[in-house]
């Protein structure tokens, strides 16, 4: 009994910690609609700066004023860094297509990682414990840390303060109005720019505060940003984007679930031992999937006002200009001749880029014409890779069969997950794809008997040589891209684009919007699966990382960098992104810093993506 009570308190303490990070993210998204990937970076910076102020400088010592003052000062400074980033970077790209800001914040993540390492070094830093709160209190005969008890209180206190801020001040009223309807606030003559900047300050301040408050609990280290960001997104989405109360509720739900699942004893079903306590990777994303399916806008979220969120006008998709078509033919011709001039490594890089071109094209198919952004496209890439590898491993399938098995498995995944995803739209859809991808990843990671867990499936080598494999990849990539392109220009592609432009009109001319989107989802999944299967043979092994978030992010970056609304965009994006990455990793140890800066520069220079920019130059007279 007392164990359960204390476990409940543990859940409450974790909920507070989670809430503090997530609420800032939620507020920023609510107002600016920016999916702020860098939120975890601000959390990490808050922790590092707080460490510096409370221990690193050495002169503040352990006094309560030094400790709490240090955490607060760190949060304020990080808030100002947030303002700087908003002013210099984000403000210039608010008008860019949806999710494009994600690209910019991803650049910030990379820069912050290297800068943090340069300033604070690589070793974990243990912060001081809170003065006067090193001990434990007695809860029904069990010891419970005093600091955790304080955290339990801090969560609701911050929640209450935010409630007062939003409901008792003019600024708060404006923020709430902007969350509900951005254009209306603009129409009221409020200076939106100042509002956005101040909201970004508050959001980053809260992230950093959350980081600083972790000092007495965990060491400060370089993985904090990535460890927290996925969890924070889950909490925000489960709670309802823009809803601070919802964020607390969601944090509570997830933290309690994670605390109590540890107590569930193993049991057996049909001879299989099920260990709930061991499935620590799955619950938060499972909760997110269930909540999004049952309540598409989160526990306390509201549907965005529709007419307004659909306001962005996508450019007309035109027939490929003859010059571009010629350029395309020339590229393919050059690639066919590549083995004559390139060395073995050149061919390898080309092969890898071709595989990613196929993956980016498949993501673009659902994201561009389909209007369905995916944060979890790696799921299908991973399923394709595992389909091929498992067929080879467990059934001794030859490569030809593996290249079929991969896409088949990915398509099945796309059909299953897509059915749920197309019921949502916008960022919510994207988040549900992320949830499913994380579930695929955890299965790959935890079902050791079949997938080999994180050690992966090894020895999946092609039955042909490196040049042969290059031609195979080239052929499949070219055919895949042409098929996808053909589908975009086909009646089905028009139906898909119609469903994106106006679901209302599409429905009124007999288009079954959900079914069209579902089909597109499955098609995208199958081509991603083909890319994944190729990748498996190319690398000779398959690991859970193929289905992990960084792969999804890579795909997203390629599409956004190239330009969502240009059919050649993902091709250019994949080549530029992969090429940059490959060159930089070899050239410098600070490749993340340089890549981050390069991404930010590209974002500022080409808010429509690289190919989007070129297309606009091309067809200026069109007015479209």
């Amino acid at each position: 009994m007392s164990a359960l009570a204390v476990q409940f308190l543990n859940g409450l303490a974790s909920a507070s910690a989670l809430f503090l990070v997530a609420c800032g993210l939620s507020i920023i998204f609510g107002v600016s609609r920016i999916v702020n990937f860098a939120h975890g970076s601000f959390y990490m910076l808050g922790a590092y700066l707080a460490w510096t102020f409370t221990r690193g400088l050495g002169w503040v010592g352990y006094g309560p004023l030094g400790f709490w003052g240090g955490i607060l000062a760190a949060a304020l400074i990080v808030g100002l860094i947030g303002v700087l980033i908003e002013l210099v970077l984000l403000r210039r790209i608010y008008q860019a297509p949806e999710l494009f800001q994600l690209l910019a914040t991803f650049g910030v993540v990379l820069v912050v990682q290297d800068v943090t390492m340069a300033i604070w070094g690589a070793q974990d830093l243990l912060g001081p414990r809170a003065p006067g709160l090193r001990g434990a209190i007695d809860v029904m005969g069990q010891r419970f840390p005093q600091y955790d008890a304080l955290l339990i209180l801090i969560g609701p206190v911050v929640l209450g303060l935010l409630w007062l801020l939003f409901n008792r001040t003019r600024w708060g009223t404006l923020v709430r109005a902007a969350t509900a309807d951005r254009e209306m606030v603009a129409a009221l003559g409020v200076d939106q720019r100042k509002l956005f900047t101040s909201v970004f300050f508050l959001g980053t301040f809260l992230a950093a505060l959350g980081g600083g408050l972790q000092l007495p609990r965990e060491p400060v280290q370089l993985h904090m940003d990535m460890a927290i960001i996925a969890d924070a997104f889950v909490v925000v989405v489960v709670g309802g984007m823009g809803s601070v109360g919802g964020a607390y509720l969601a944090a509570l739900l997830i933290a309690q679930l994670q605390a109590f699942m540890l107590l569930v004893p193993d049991f057996e079903i049909a001879g299989l031992t099920i260990s709930i306590a061991k499935m620590t990777l799955i619950p938060s994303f499972l909760v997110m999937a269930v909540v999004l399916i049952a309540r598409p806008y989160g526990l306390l979220g509201k549907a965005p006002s529709h007419a307004r969120t659909q306001a962005s006008v996508e450019p007309v998709v035109r027939v490929t200009p003859p010059l571009l078509a010629k350029f395309g033919f020339a590229t393919v011709a050059a690639l066919i001749l590549l083995p004559l001039i390139a060395d073995e490594y050149g061919l390898m890089v080309a092969t890898e880029i071709l595989i990613f071109v196929l993956m980016a094209a498949s993501l673009h198919f659902m994201m561009g014409p389909g209007g369905m952004a995916s944060f979890g496209h790696a799921a299908y890439f991973g399923l394709g890779a595992y389909g091929a590898a498992l067929a080879a491993k467990h059934f001794d399938a030859p490569m030809e069969a593996g290249l079929v098995a991969g896409p088949v498995l990915a398509t099945l995944g796309g059909i299953l997950f897509g059915w749920f995803c197309v019921r949502l739209s916008g960022v919510y859809l994207a988040m549900l794809t992320l949830a499913f991808a994380q579930i695929v990843w955890s299965i790959a990671f935890q079902w050791v008997a079949v997938t080999g867990g994180d050690n992966g499936v090894l020895g999946v080598w092609p039955s042909i040589g490196k040049t042969g494999f290059f031609y195979l990849s080239l052929a499949l990539a070219v055919v895949g891209v042409l098929l996808l392109r053909r589908a975009i220009y086909s009646p089905f592609g028009y139906a898909l684009r119609g469903a994106r432009d106006s679901a209302l009109r599409a429905d009124a001319i007999g288009i079954d919007v959900k079914r069209v989107q579902w089909t597109a989802f499955a098609i995208a999944a199958s081509f991603a699966g083909l890319a994944g299967a190729l990748f498996a043979y190319f690398k000779g092994s398959v690991f859970p990382t193929y289905a992990a978030i960084p792969k999804s992010v890579d795909a997203l970056m390629m599409v956004l960098l190239g330009g969502v609304q240009t059919i050649s965009g993902p091709l250019v994006g994949a080549a530029v992104y992969m090429g940059l990455h490959e060159q930089l990793v070899r050239a410098t140890e600070l490749w993340r810093l340089v890549l981050g800066i390069a991404i930010i520069a590209l974002v500022l220079a080409f808010p429509q993506g690289i190919a989007g920019f070129a297309a606009k130059r091309w067809a200026k007279e069109d007015g479209a």
Binding site: L458, F543, W591
Partner: protein
């Protein structure tokens, strides 16, 4: 002693030149290139000291005249923690940079990925750090060798100590991935074999890097074990130690813990390092064998820092490679592999052999107890556990290793 060995080997090399061995003459001026792949950007805390150790040994080798007057050089690549990137680097290093052999690896899956590449492309791969048993056993192959004592070996070292304790109720806490799972599996299997009465009353598998330490500590306490086998490390460990200390989890309980005595993990805990835990590790300041003193002083002089375990691993990886090259006198892969099999070399910890049967090195680890001294964690009552004593029987090893390896 190291120096003597070097002089001796340099002498042998010089003799080779004099004898005019054709292999030596042909390749006289071209440096020998080692392609080194590691997770530098994602595991920076461990790989910084590793690389220092590596460079130290490399500089020593080159100062001693290289191999048959060929210099050694290293091309470092960062895999960012992704096996697929590691394979790309392997391809680049072999195909474009024409390296003579591959080395490195910290994460187990990356070690396995590169090992797979090595097998497919018939290149020598000296895996330095990855702990997974699979790399030499179930996935072992002719071209892959591993230096560091494996998960099995470290678990076996701790089982020896755990079996001496007068307790029978055990719980385990371990990060939920292959290393953690294997460690727990071996610990349970070997301990039960050694002491049939033991019971395992609770298992916790927190996600790597994301432990919910309070809840995990609570769940372990609820099962009221007499002993705890811990496999968590780094941030998870610090988290667990803080929560466990405050909650009294470790009071009146024996704790047996993998790797916790390594300075990489013990030092960040500062004055909160646990006391009385039985650990594997590296008491760098107390090991005073000639080899180690020489290494430690050279390291200090060169980097103005004390060595971590990673430094030893980096240093000895190069040592092993250098010794092998001095024996093979060629960079022909098959001949290098032959030389690696059964290779005996002087490590910072003493004599080490790369076993012919499974390509595992017999490098050992130090087993002892943690203690706070002057506000810092250190190891006491330690002894060097030689790796060769903590490996399964040859028959068992042969059964685990693929026939074609």
């Amino acid at each position: 002693m190291t120096l003597k060995r070097r002089e001796l080997l340099a002498g042998t090399a010089a003799a080779g030149v004099l004898l005019g061995s054709p292999t030596v003459l042909r390749a006289q001026n071209a440096p020998i290139r080692i392609g080194e792949i590691n997770s530098y950007s994602t595991q920076a805390a461990f790989l910084g000291p590793y690389r220092n150790g590596w460079n130290l040994a490399l500089e020593e080798a080159n100062a001693a005249g290289g191999i048959d007057s060929r210099r050694l050089e290293t091309l470092f690549r960062d895999d960012a923690g992704k096996p697929e990137d590691a394979v790309r680097h392997a391809g680049e290093l072999v195909a474009a940079e024409k390296v003579d052999l591959l080395a490195g690896g910290f994460l187990s899956n990356i070690g396995l990925a590169v090992a797979g590449y090595a097998k497919q492309n018939k290149k020598l791969y000296v895996a330095s750090e990855p702990l997974t048993d699979a790399i030499v056993w179930s996935q072992g192959n002719r071209y892959t060798f591993r230096l560091r004592p494996s998960t099995y070996m470290q678990a076996a070292m701790l089982v020896e100590e755990a079996a001496k304790l007068p307790i029978t109720r055990w719980a385990t806490i371990s990060p939920n991935y292959e290393y953690g799972q294997s460690a727990v599996k071996w610990f349970k299997e070997l301990l039960v074999k050694k002491k049939p009465g033991v019971q395992f009353v609770a298992e916790q598998f927190p996600a790597l890097g994301r432990i919910d330490a309070g809840a995990t500590a609570q769940a372990i306490a609820a099962a009221n074990p007499e002993g705890i086998f811990n496999v968590t490390f780094a941030a998870d460990l610090a988290n667990l130690v803080r929560q466990g200390n405050t909650r009294g989890l470790f009071e009146r309980r024996a704790v047996v813990s993998m790797l916790t005595g390594e300075p990489e993990y013990l030092d960040p805990l500062a004055d909160e390092a646990p006391e009385g835990w039985i650990v594997t590790g590296y008491p760098w300041d107390q090991v005073n064998t000639p080899n180690h003193v020489k290494f430690r002083e050279a390291y200090r002089r060169r980097f103005n820092d004390y060595p971590r375990l990673g430094s030893v691993v980096g240093y000895d990886t190069v040592n092993a490679i250098v010794t092998m090259l001095r024996q093979s006198r060629t960079t022909d892969t098959e001949k290098m592999v032959d030389a690696m099999e059964g290779l005996k070399f002087q490590s910072a910890f003493g004599d080490v052999e790369f076993r012919k049967i499974d390509h595992q090195a017999t490098l050992g680890a130090f087993v002892g107890k943690t203690k706070l001294v002057n506000g810092k964690g250190t190891m006491v009552d330690w002894r060097y556990a030689d790796g060769k004593d903590y490996l399964p029987s040859d028959a068992e090893v042969a059964a685990m290793r693929p026939k074609d390896a």
